[in-house]
């Protein structure tokens, strides 16, 4: 069995970790924004295993546990993930990964187990751990264990599907994470240059960020439409005072559609005269939309300077003048580390998290711009150029 770091034989940089984290979190967010199967709403595709599985088999369990943990933090903030879903996913994911990750790593490296088997094991382990977590932490009885057969059958299919795709794309993924071919699948603007070029932090901004974070916290503590609307208006006013325009609004449309499908168009109650939307649905939509939009809008302002500030502090602390993208952790086969830090893997993963997080407030901007270009090609019947935006952007 591998020890946490001893078999960590590939070099991993903070920017490589950041790339893996962005892909894993984006896939997780897309997965959670997709509508569920009505009879079995707990079943999801598990798209982020496209990243987690190759990452596990490349860098081992410890690094993957950090990737999983930070992925869930980003999904909680930007994925419209409820706290309970976050708790279930985090506890069951970390426990099943701790248990099955080393086994899969050990068996796959020795060619005893294939990627398909590893995918099936991890998927079924995660799903079973979810049921156990729900019983022990939330519901308090085991009445829903009848869902085990369909859940296992689903784990089999989804595990095979994701592990097959991950195996096919592993070469590009490994190259991108280890910077061997910067142009292949490279995620733009997630590394050092993005943070240094994005914002010049004005002296008063940190003070305003602290106030804004306090207001955001109140958003979730104070219930009721009046409070939500007031706080939403305060956040919006702050964003407008900094950016002077409503440009930020256009990046938030997928969150709005998701929340509208859940709340505005699907909630019973008293119909608004002449429409099929209810007052209760409208109220619920306003509350959830204002919370989500406040986070997304405001984080476009505070997340990048905060990340930059923390990375600078981390660099000063470890005596490294450069930003986190240059941090390299490389363990050779004897387990000797090139850097001497107390928690080197945590430092690297945290730096990667700080580098990745500023990308999320404008998560859908690239997709929006690509969609706009595709629409223009469609309108002008330029069939051969239809996929050009996708090739150039992603």
């Amino acid at each position: 069995m591998q020890s946490p770091n001893s078999s960590f034989s590939h070099s991993l940089t903070a920017s490589g970790f950041a790339r893996a984290l962005v892909w894993a979190a984006v896939l997780q967010i897309v997965d959670s924004l997709l509508l569920r199967i009505p009879l079995f709403p707990w079943m999801r595709l598990g798209l982020s295993h496209l990243v987690l599985l190759p990452f596990l088999l490349r860098y081992g369990t410890s690094a993957t546990l950090y990737l999983f943990g930070f992925r869930n933090i980003l999904s909680l903030i930007f994925g419209a993930l409820p706290a309970s879903s976050w708790l279930i996913s985090t506890v069951s994911g970390l426990s099943s990964l701790s248990l099955l990750g080393p086994i899969c790593f050990f068996l796959v490296k020795r060619n005893i187990l294939g990627w398909l088997g590893a995918g099936m094991l991890l998927s079924s382990g995660f799903n079973l751990a979810q049921l156990y977590t729900v019983e022990k932490l939330l519901i308090g009885h085991s009445g829903f264990y009848y869902q085990i057969p369909p859940l296992l059958a689903w784990s089999l299919l989804s595990g095979m599907f994701t592990s097959f795709l991950a195996y096919r794309g592993r070469t590009q993924l490994f190259s991108a994470w280890e910077n061997q071919s910067p142009n292949s699948l490279a995620l733009r603007d997630t590394t050092q240059s993005h943070l240094t070029n994005t914002l010049d932090v004005s002296p008063g901004l940190y003070g305003r960020i602290k106030v804004l974070l306090a207001v955001l916290l109140l958003f979730f503590l104070l219930p009721g439409l009046a409070w939500q609307l007031s706080l939403g208006a305060a956040c919006l006013a702050f964003c407008l005072s900094v950016r002077q325009n409503l440009r930020l609004l256009r990046y938030t449309w997928p969150w709005l559609i998701f929340l509208a499908l859940l709340h505005l168009f699907d909630t019973p109650g008293r119909s608004i005269q002449g429409t099929w939307i209810t007052w209760e649905g409208l109220q619920s939509f306003i509350v959830h939309a204002s919370r989500t939009l406040a986070i997304v809008w405001s984080s476009q302002i505070w997340l990048a300077p905060l990340a930059k500030h923390l990375i600078a502090r981390l660099s000063r602390k470890s005596g490294n003048d450069e930003l986190g993208s240059s941090r390299v952790l490389h363990h050779n086969r004897q387990g000797n580390s090139e850097r001497t830090a107390r928690f080197p893997l945590f430092e690297l993963a945290f730096s990667g998290f700080l580098l990745a997080s500023p990308k999320f407030p404008t998560l859908f901007s690239e997709a929006l711009l690509a969609g706009k270009e595709i629409s223009a090609h469609l309108f002008h019947r330029r069939w051969t150029q239809l996929l050009e935006p996708l090739q150039s952007r992603f």
Partner: protein
Amino acid sequence: MSTQEGKLFRPLDLLIAITLIGVTLASSVHIPKVIGHWAEVREKGRLLAKYRLDTPSQFYSIETKTGLFKLAIDEKGIRVVEAPCLHKICVRTGTIKLAGRSITCAPAQLSIRITGKNETDNIDAITQ
């Protein structure tokens, strides 16, 4: 790429797939296919209410710490009509009627579970 990365398929994968299919089939045999008579509503394991399923169509409201739930009982079974949670997985689960089935709302720590006949069959509903 080196062979250290592993291969797509090994014979052990087939064994895992067969085991998963076997466990799936074996556990599905044990699921009861009997129509239930009661619906128990619990919040974090504590019984909040218990409703007969063979009563005329009716709506019930349940107040929980998270908010108000509205339940509907008709000839098809019981379903959650309205819930205060974000993703509304409980609403999307739909109607359940077979004994042993349940609807779960993790954010509200609420579960609705169908049970079979028992000694309280002459009572229509119990609430606490």
